[in-house]
Amino acid sequence: MKAMNRRKFLKGSLLGGAAASVISKRKNADASSSFGGYPDAMGVLVDLTRCIGCRSCEAACNKEQGLPAPAQSFDDLSVLDHERRTSEGAYTVVNRYEIPGKDHPLFRKIQCNHCNEPACLTSCFVNAYTKTPEGAVIYDATVCVGCRTCMIACPFYVPAYSYSSVLNPVVQKCIFCYDTRLKFGRPPACVEACPREVLTFGKRKDLIKIGNQRIQNHPDLYEDHIYGEKEVGGTSWMYLSSAPFDQVGFDTDLGTQPILSYVKEFLTVVPMVLTIWPALFAGFHLLATRKDKQKKEEKSEI
C-alpha cells in the first residue's frame, strides 16, 4: 500500500512537469493502482542443486516462443563452455559454473526474473511494460520507440533488442509464457520441460515457504538465502543454490530496494522546481531591475 501511494505521488509530480498531460493521468490511473507486488502473483523457484545443464528448458522456450533455430542444436553441450546471456534469439540460457572445492559444476538458468517492481517498467516513457496480477512482466511492442532505457535499467541484464530489424526492432525477453500459458493458469514451457524438477511453479508466497523448508531440511546442502526473495524489491523467479551466489554468476551487490527508489530522489525535486522557480526568478527580476524603475519614475516626475 505504501509503495502504491509513493508511485501515485511520483506519477503526479512528473505529470506536473509534463504540463499538458492532465488527460494522461486519468488514462494511467489503472496502471498506477495496480503497480507493486501482487498477493497472488505466481513465480518459479529454481533449485540449482538439481540442474544438470541439459538445456531442455532452452529448447522448450525456443519452440513455445517461435524463436529462430539456434546455430548449434540444443543437444550440443559445448555451448556451455562460454558464459552466455539472453538475446533476441534466446529468452533463456543455461550457464555452467565450476565451483572451487567441489567436484561437480553448478548450472544456472537465466531469464527475466519478473520483478515485483520492475526497473524496466518504471523507466519506460511510453508505458510499454505491464506487471500482470499473475506476476508476469509483459511488453507491448506496438508502442515501443526503441530508446532502450529498459535495457539500461534492468539490473539483471535481461532485455535484448532486435538490432538487425530495420522497420520493427523491438525489445525481446521472457514474458513468463503469459499469452499462451500463464494467463490460463498453466506453468511456462521451460518448467514443464525440465526432467529434473529444478523448476517449481507456484504462488510466489508459497515458493518462499518451500524454499525455506528445503534450506531447513538440508542446511548442509543449501546456502541460507533465497535469491530473489528480497533483491531489488523481490522477484517472481527465485533461486536456491549450494554454492555462494556470487560464485554462480549472481550479482550479490544488488540491494533490497527497488530501482525506482534510487530515481525518486530526483522525482521529488521536480514539483519543487516547478512551483518555486517562477516566483523566485520573477522576484530576482524585480530586485535586479528596481533601480532602473526608480530612475524612470524620477525622470517622469521631473
Binding site: L15, F125, C147, S164, V166, I259, L267, L274, F284
Partner: protein, 421 residues
C-alpha cells in the same frame, strides 16, 4: 568573404541595398547580398567546405546505411551497452554544452544585465542548435524514430525520467525558437512579430530556466536507473541530478566562450564593432560565472563521495581516472579562469574554457560509456558509429555557420534610417 570585403563589398545588414534603390529580396538576403556566382565562388574558396564535402559524401553514405540496414549494421548491437556514441556523445555531451541559452537569457532578461546583450543571441542560438542536434542524434539512435511523438500523444509513461526529458526538450526547443524570433523578424522586416515576442520575453526566459533545471538534471537522473552499472564515483543517486545541472552551467558558459572565440577568429566580417569590442570584457564576465559554477560543482562532487562513502574507490584504477577527470577537467580550468579574471587575460580564459568543455565531455562519456558496466567488459564503438557521429556533428557546425552568416546574431540589423545616413 574577406576577399570580397577587401574589394568593397559590404556584408548585408539592412533592408535596402547599397544605393537605396531597391529592397533586398529574400534571395539576396540568403546569398548575403552577393550574386549567385559570387556566392558560389567564395564558398569554393573556403577550405572548410572541402572538408565538409569529404565528410558528408562518405559519412552521409554511412548514415543512410543505418536507415537501410538498421542499427545492427552500424553498431555492435550490444545488449549490455544499449547506448553508444549517438546518445553518449550526441545527447549527454551536446545538451550541457547548450545550456548557454538559458544562462544568458537569465543574466540579461531576469537580472537585467544589459551589458551581456551583445552575446545574448549567440548564446540563445548555441542553445537552440545544440538541442536540435541532440534530437537529431536521438533520431539516429532510436530503434523506431518515426515513433518519436509516442510518449507525447500515443502512449504515455509519465512516471519515467525520460518522459520528462522528452517533454522538456520539446517544450524548450519551442521556447528557444521563440526567443530567437526577434532576430528573424528584424531580418525579414516584421516588427510586429518582434514586439509580440518581446512582450512575453520574461515569461519565456523563466520557463527556460525551469525546463533547463529539470531536464539537465533529468539527464543525470537517467543514470539512477542503473545504480549498479555506473561506477560509484560517477554515480550518486541523491546528487546525480544536481551534478548534471551544476556542471551544465559552466559547460554552457565555457562553450559560449569557445564559440564566440571561433566566430571572432573565422568570421570577423560578420561581427559588428559592438560585438568585437565588447568580447574581451564579456569573456571575462562569462569566466566569472563559470568559475562560480566550477567551485560549486567541485564541492558537491566531494560531498557526494563523502555521503556515499566512496573514498576507498579513489585508490583504485578507476579512482585515478576519476581524479584525472576532476583535476584536468574541473580544478585546472577553475585555476586558469581565476588567474585570467584577476589579471584580465581574456586569452587565458578562452583556453580555460576549452579545457572545461573537453572536461565536461569526458565526464559525460565516462558516465555513459567508459565506466558504465564497470564490472563487465569495455565496449568499443563500431567505426561506422563513430563516422555517423562525426558526420552529424559536422552538419551541426555547417548549420551553425549558415545561420550565423545570415541572422543578426553577431551583428545588429541596421534600422532603415541608419542605413540611409
Amino acid at each position: 568573404m574577406k576577399t570580397l570585403i577587401a574589394n568593397g563589398k559590404i556584408p548585408l545588414a539592412t533592408h535596402y541595398n547599397d544605393d537605396r534603390s531597391a529592397k533586398w529580396s529574400v534571395k539576396d538576403k540568403l546569398l548575403l547580398g552577393l550574386s549567385l556566382s559570387e556566392y558560389l565562388a567564395q564558398a569554393f574558396r573556403n577550405p572548410l567546405n572541402w572538408f565538409f564535402a569529404v565528410i558528408f559524401s562518405f559519412g552521409g553514405y554511412v548514415t543512410i546505411t543505418r536507415f537501410i540496414f538498421g542499427l545492427g549494421y552500424v553498431t555492435h548491437s550490444s545488449y549490455d551497452y544499449p547506448w553508444g556514441l549517438f546518445l553518449g556523445f550526441g545527447l549527454f555531451v551536446m545538451v550541457p554544452l547548450s545550456a548557454s541559452g538559458f544562462m544568458l537569457g537569465t543574466a540579461v532578461e531576469v537580472f537585467g544585465r544589459d551589458d551581456f546583450k551583445p552575446i545574448e543571441r549567440l548564446a540563445l542560438l548555441n542553445g537552440l542548435l545544440g538541442y536540435l542536434f541532440a534530437v537529431i542524434f536521438l533520431q539516429v539512435d532510436l530503434g523506431q524514430p518515426w515513433r518519436l511523438i509516442y510518449p507525447m500523444f500515443v502512449s504515455l509513461g509519465p512516471a519515467a525520467v525520460l518522459f520528462l526529458v522528452a517533454w522538456h526538450v520539446a517544450t524548450y526547443l519551442t521556447v528557444q525558437v521563440a526567443e530567437l524570433v526577434p532576430a528573424f523578424a528584424e531580418m525579414m522586416g516584421m516588427p510586429k512579430l518582434k514586439t509580440f515576442i518581446k512582450s512575453m520575453i520574461l515569461g519565456l526566459t523563466i520557463a527556460g530556466i525551469i525546463l533547463s533545471t529539470l531536464h539537465q538534471g533529468a539527464l543525470g537522473a537517467l543514470f539512477t536507473y542503473a545504480p549498479y552499472k555506473v561506477h560509484p564515483l560517477w554515480m550518486s543517486a541523491p546528487f546525480q541530478w544536481f551534478h548534471y545541472f551544476c556542471s551544465s552551467v559552466f559547460a554552457g558558459l565555457s562553450m559560449l566562450i569557445v564559440v564566440s572565440t571561433i566566430c571572432k577568429k573565422t568570421m570577423a566580417w560578420r561581427c559588428d564593432d559592438n560585438f568585437l569590442t565588447s568580447l574581451d570584457r564579456l569573456t571575462i564576465g562569462l569566466a566569472k560565472g563559470a568559475t562560480l559554477a566550477l567551485i560549486t560543482y567541485l564541492v558537491i562532487k566531494i560531498i557526494a563521495i563523502a555521503h556515499d562513502g566512496d573514498w576507498g574507490y579513489l585508490a583504485s584504477g578507476w579512482g585515478q581516472w576519476y581524479m584525472l577527470e576532476m583535476i584536468a577537467g574541473v580544478i585546472l580550468p577553475m585555476i586558469l579562469f581565476t588567474i585570467s579574471i584577476r589579471n584580465n587575460l581574456p586569452g587565458l580564459a578562452r583556453f580555460a574554457a576549452l579545457i572545461a568543455v573537453l572536461g565536461i565531455a569526458l565526464n559525460r562519456l565516462n558516465t555513459a560509456l567508459f565506466t558504465f558496466n564497470w564490472k563487465l567488459y569495455q565496449e568499443i564503438p563500431h567505426w561506422r558509429e563513430l563516422v555517423i557521429t562525426i558526420t552529424v556533428y559536422c552538419l551541426f557546425i555547417a548549420t551553425y555557420r549558415f545561420v550565423l552568416y545570415r541572422l543578426p546574431i553577431l551583428y545588429t540589423w541596421k534600422k532603415d534610417e541608419e542605413a540611409a545616413s
